[in-house]
Amino acid sequence: MPDAVLQARSPLHGLARSGHHGRAGPAGLTIVERTDIAFASVIARRGQRDALASAVRASFGLALPDGPRRVGKDGVAFAGIGPGQWIASGENAGDLAASLRERIGAFAAVADQSDSRLVLHLSGARVRDALVKGVPIDLHPRAFKTGDVASTLVAHVGVQIDMLDDAPVFQLTAPRSMAGSFWSWLTASAAEFGYDVATK
């Protein structure tokens, strides 16, 4: 009978080293790999969009967004990624998918996606300057504001970008299997400004 506790590995295992990289001096940006955020895809049942919104409001106190926006409260967030489709996330949320299924499963299909992606939080004075080397959409404050969400292609990798706050902090998620290629692009792009890597 099994008893071993399985060791989890982050998508960047063996690739990301904590500390300062690239140009010496103050870091232009800080990259934090987040492995403590659970994700789940949420797809509204046919004709249940409004019922789902009510359930989300009742359970999480959040107004489910229409369009590419995110709303969040107490560590739980919903990001619109398509008509009737959201990515829910929760910090230290345990089995988020199970919790969602319990609370809103009558109105939506829910699938656990916690292991499907590399999750990075990027901040720092030069974060936009590094991101423009692959992000084709406009991240200028006039065009992309806190709470905005975009699904786009970065260095040929499908990436979801959420702007979390005005600092700014950007959350980038990329497919787990492409973490290595994506990391190669990101670090090459950030090296010019100097960057710190941390994990959380």
Binding site: M1, P2, D3, A4, V5, L6, Q7, A8, R9, S10, H13, G14, G22, R23, T35, S41, I43, A44, R45, R46, G47, A108, A109, V110, A111, D112, Q113, S114, D115, S116, R117, V132, K133, G134, V135, P136, I137, D138, H140, R142, A143, A155, H156, V157, P175, R176, S177, M178, A179, G180, S181, F182, S184, W185, A188, S189, A191, E192
Partner: protein
């Protein structure tokens, strides 16, 4: 030490920062602010290159990116870059450059004999001279021509520098930072718009840097610096130096290349050499200026003959004079300014030759003036010794000089207005083309728009910048127009001096002369596009920027048409040459495209696996062990060990889609050929998907984990396409079905554990009863694995008792290690996709080779899976008579009659004793493998009436690899046809 042609004072060079550089091995000095061209001129180096075809000595013609002559190899070793224009190469300390297209040296070039052979090398010579015998073209003529006619040599080693791509967005993109561009940027910037101002120079100002104009009472360069300072202080204005906008594309997209570190020997660590930009702008203002054009006359290509505006740029901006005794030949007022500025700089001006009959208002400046006259000849070979001037009376006068400045008028740089199909229009007043239909979101201002005087440039710039910002919703704050003069700018066209005896060049880079154009016309190439292809006018790195208009004007004369009737050739991006490095950016080598790694990759690497690409995935192909000498040996061992005991393979790469909802079963029934709605919870089933046209699209498995919850797998290679297909079916075909679907491919790591001892291994790992009775073949259930919730499927691709275990991907690495540890006592063997392929071939399962888009389910022996009780995609079209024809090749197994013979996939089946002709073709081999289980090669394929011919023999004929093997037709299920092992 001191450079003989450097003026004692003036210029925008920094005399406090001397720089040393070498050209063709000789060391020279220059200053910060020089270009390689200006430094060579200051040092009196006139001869810098040999021409493309005739190997004629050439000097420096221009002072900008349009340069046709002064191409050099810049830097050395792996950083050597051929065909670099000396005129836009910023000088840096230690710069190394060499001339190209010469042997043994620039001054003594043996191919210079081509000039004497030129009667045989006229336009289109290679279409005529080297036609016979035809087979000599590739073997002899082409290599010879390529060696003789050449540009520089590539480095031949990997570029050690890095390159980047980047994206920028703005309201207003201003292209060019001359007076018009600066004012446009200022107007838009003050209005509050997001502005990008891109200029290819390292210093803003455009022609202001090359002229002695004053604006608001200040020297032009100082005024420009003041505007730059104001723009730099605006937070929403971005100034991009050393950035050339290359092309215009749909929806306000522009490409540009930024030469981030071309002005240093080696880019600083972490910085790219160049960066290519995609700029998305709501509006653009094109203020790219104008390009001066030469006049065609005898030996007009001699070193020391320079465009008049360029001569002014070298004198005024770089304090470098092209000569000590300068003559000017012009057909317009602007040329006179070169004479005036040269005299101001203390250079002797020996004559101003003006082709116009009327005296220019500038003739009062007091130069030795010859009006109504033309330069017909330049004397001197590697420099100018004298010029012959033909006057109104037809008599020639010889004038001694060492440099000649020529102005044939200016062509607005209309290129970017034409990239989306716009055609420029002819303007008689300036005798040049101006923008016609512009791209929808582009304004043109300044010289580009045909406004050739400084005052008009400033006015046009303000207006364009204000309109562009206004279009983006920004209120315009009026700008006081700076004070400047409208200088004289009249022109009377003169394209070609008919009295020329020697070659009169139109296109310097391609050695196209006025005579070549006349010849092309005479031979029937009257269209300007044909002229270009026949003579090569306007081709190569400069794309004829100094040549095209003159060329078509001469064609117009020759054909008796007006210039607008002749028209221009098509303008295409890029505006200037761009390196492949800049276009590739980060994406070269291993970063060419993203690589997908399965969860066991790190572990497999530790095992010494050999990997191969399947789609974007890198998968373990096989796991060689010490002593194994080839891949087949390793694969045979992996197959044998799996069949004897147990093996493990990472199958995480399969596509995985979750379906949830009351209509999930109905949806799957419509998508798949077989019925899935009858699948009980806790069971899995093989699933077959057809295309609309009835052919097989993909296969996989579907497992039902709940009454309304299914998980489907699809093949690795087809996974993205299947997801698209499923989304299309749901969103477009049947939006009314209440089902949610989402890819969970990345969420799950999945391992196939196969072989008679597979259950023994898994029993050690999971908390569940998986005995045969409790968990029979095709079972599917959730299990707990070390406290992690996992999924277990009893599926087999290998034909063995087998399971697929799925765990959340973060545990994939831990789980493969746990499986290996648990299996150690059974000598568990990891196997790669080669062994996987061998085992499925032995079992007769179809794979990608069979699902090739040309075979139906019936062809593949899967006809019984096609439900007759429901409708599904592909059902109707699969019933087309031709697809039901019993003569169609159908799925069989094949083995060589001579058991040691090797089989080849792709071989065609021919009846024994029949000729290998198309008529006798009876099908083909789709897959082959060496079967260690049977000790010989086996194959799968489709054969006409194959299933009825078990036991017969056919030829497997493979003309590509000289294969001709007699094979015996058999069941495709070589291994365990009863499936006893699956159910064990």
């Amino acid at each position: 030490m001191s450079a003989p042609f450097r003026l004692a004072s003036g210029g925008l060079i920094d005399r406090g920062k001397p720089l040393s550089f070498s050209f063709d091995g000789k060391t020279y000095n220059g200053f910060a602010g020089d270009t390689l061209a200006s430094a060579l001129i200051a040092n009196g180096v006139k001869l810098v290159s040999r021409s493309f075809k005739y190997h004629r000595p050439r000097g420096i013609l221009t002072a900008g990116s349009e340069e046709p002559n002064a191409l050099v190899e810049l830097r050395s070793g792996a950083r050597r870059e051929p065909n670099t224009r000396a005129t836009v190469t910023e000088l840096y300390d230690g710069l190394v450059a060499a001339s190209q297209n010469r042997w043994p040296s620039l001054a003594l070039d043996v191919s210079g004999i081509n000039d004497l052979l030129s009667p045989f090398l006229a336009a289109g010579f290679y279409y005529k001279t080297f036609m016979w015998p035809a087979k000599f073209w590739e073997a002899l003529y082409e290599p010879l021509i390529r060696r003789a006619a050449g540009l520089g040599r590539v480095a031949g080693a990997e570029d050690p520098d890095t390159y980047e791509k980047a994206f920028a967005h703005c309201d207003v993109l201003v292209i060019g930072a001359g007076p018009a561009g600066l004012m446009a940027a200022l107007a838009a910037g003050r209005a509050g718009a997001r502005v990008i101002l891109a200029d290819e120079d390292f210093r803003l100002g455009g022609r202001l840097l090359a002229e002695r104009h004053e604006i608001d009472g200040r020297p032009g360069a100082a005024w420009a610096a003041g505007i730059e300072a104001e723009l730099s202080a605006m937070p929403e204005v971005r100034i991009m130096h050393r950035t050339t906008v290359l092309g215009v594309y749909d929806h306000g997209q522009y490409s540009a290349v930024e030469r981030v570190n071309d002005h240093v020997a080696t880019p600083p660590i972490h910085e790219p050499r160049q960066r290519s930009w995609k700029i998305v702008a709501k509006r653009a203002v094109l203020a790219a200026g104008a390009l001066e054009r030469p006049i065609a006359f005898g030996n007009n290509d001699r070193p020391g003959v320079m465009l008049a505006g360029a001569a002014r740029a070298y004198i005024n901006r770089y304090a470098a004079t092209p000569g000590k005794r300068l003559a000017v030949f012009t057909n317009n007022d602007d040329g006179w300014r070169t004479a005036a500025d040269a005299r101001t700089a203390g250079i002797e001006v020996v004559a101003v030759v003006d082709s116009r009959a009327a005296k220019s208002e500038l003739s009062k400046l007091g130069f030795s003036t010859m009006s109504n006259s033309r330069v017909s000849h330049v004397d001197g070979k590697q420099g100018v010794r004298a010029i012959d001037v033909v006057g109104a009376n037809g008599r020639a006068t010889r004038i001694e000089c060492d440099a000649l400045a020529v102005s044939g008028g200016w062509n607005p740089a209309v290129h970017l207005t034409c990239h989306l199909g716009g055609k420029p229009v002819w303007n008689d007043e300036i005798a040049a083309f101006v923008p016609g239909t512009r791209p929808p979101a582009m304004y043109a201002a300044g010289a580009t728009n045909g406004a050739f005087t400084l005052s008009r440039c400033l006015t046009g710039g303000i207006a364009a910048g204000a309109m562009a910002a206004g279009d983006c919703g920004f209120d315009f704050t009026p700008i006081t127009q700076p004070r400047a003069d409208d200088e004289p700018a009249a022109v009377t066209p003169l394209w070609h001096v008919k009295e020329s005896r020697a070659k009169a060049f139109v296109d310097f880079q391609n050695d196209v002369t006025a005579k070549d154009i006349a010849l092309a016309h005479q031979e029937g190439f009257g269209s300007v596009e044909h002229l270009k292809r026949y003579t090569t006018l306007g081709m190569a790195t400069d794309q004829g920027k100094t040549a095209n208009v003159t060329g078509l004007a001469i064609l117009a004369e020759a054909s008796g048409r007006a210039i607008p009737q002749v028209g221009t050739t098509t303008y295409r991006p890029p505006y200037v040459p761009v390196s492949f490095g800049a276009m590739a950016g980060h994406h070269r080598g291993r970063d060419f495209r993203p690589i997908r790694l399965p969860p066991s990759h790190a572990w497999a690497t530790e095992q010494g696996a050999v990997f191969m690409e399947t789609g974007a995935w890198l998968r373990a192909q096989y796991y060689p062990r010490a002593g194994e000498t080839d891949w087949l040996q390793s694969v045979n061992r992996e197959v044998a060990a799996t069949r004897a005991s147990v093996g493990v393979c990472d199958v995480s790469t399969f596509g995985k889609v979750a379906f949830e909802g009351p209509d999930a079963a109905a949806f799957l029934d419509r998508v798949c050929a077989n019925t899935l709605s009858t699948l009980p919870v806790g069971k899995a089933r093989y699933a077959l998907m057809l295309r609309e046209d009835g052919f097989v699209q993909d296969d996989g498995t579907v497992a039902r984990l709940g009454p309304e919850y299914f998980v489907m797998t699809s093949t690795t290679a087809n996974a993205p396409r299947m997801m698209q297909h499923l989304e299309f079916c749901h969103q477009v075909l049947w939006p009314a079905l209440d089902v949610g679907m989402v890819s969970v491919s990345e969420q799950w790591a999945q391992f196939a554990v196969a072989g008679p001892r597979s259950r023994d291994v898994l029993c050690k790992l999971i908390d569940a009863d998986i005995a045969n009775a409790a968990f029979p073949y095709l079972g599917a259930r959730e299990v707990s694995f070390g406290g992690v919730s996992a999924r277990l499927f009893r599926l087999s691709f290998s034909g063995e008792l087998a399971y697929e275990l799925a765990v959340p991907a973060r545990y994939g690495d831990a789980v493969i290690r746990a499986i290996m540890a648990a299996g150690a006592e059974f000598a568990i063997t990891p196997y790669g996709i080669e062994a996987l392929g061998v085992m499925r071939t032995e079992k007769g399962h179809v794979a990608g080779q069979e699902m090739n888009g040309q075979l139906t389910a019936r062809d593949l022996g899967l006809g019984r899976m096609m439900s007759t009780r429901k409708d599904y995609i592909g059902r109707v079209m699969a019933q087309r008579p031709a697809l039901l024809d019993p003569e169609r090749p159908a799925f069989v197994g094949l083995r060589p009659v001579e058991r040691s013979a090797r089989l080849r996939a792709g071989a065609h089946f021919i009846p024994v004793g029949a000729a290998a002709t198309i008529e006798n073709d009876e099908g083909y081999m789709t897959s082959v493998a060496f079967s260690p289980t049977f000790g010989h090669w086996i194959g799968l394929g489709v054969l006409k009436r194959g299933p009825e011919r078990i036991g017969q023999r056919v030829r497997a004929y493979d003309p590509v690899r000289n294969g001709d093997v007699e094979v015996e037709v058999c069941s495709p299920h070589f291994f365990d046809p009863e499936g006893a092992r699956l159910h064990a």
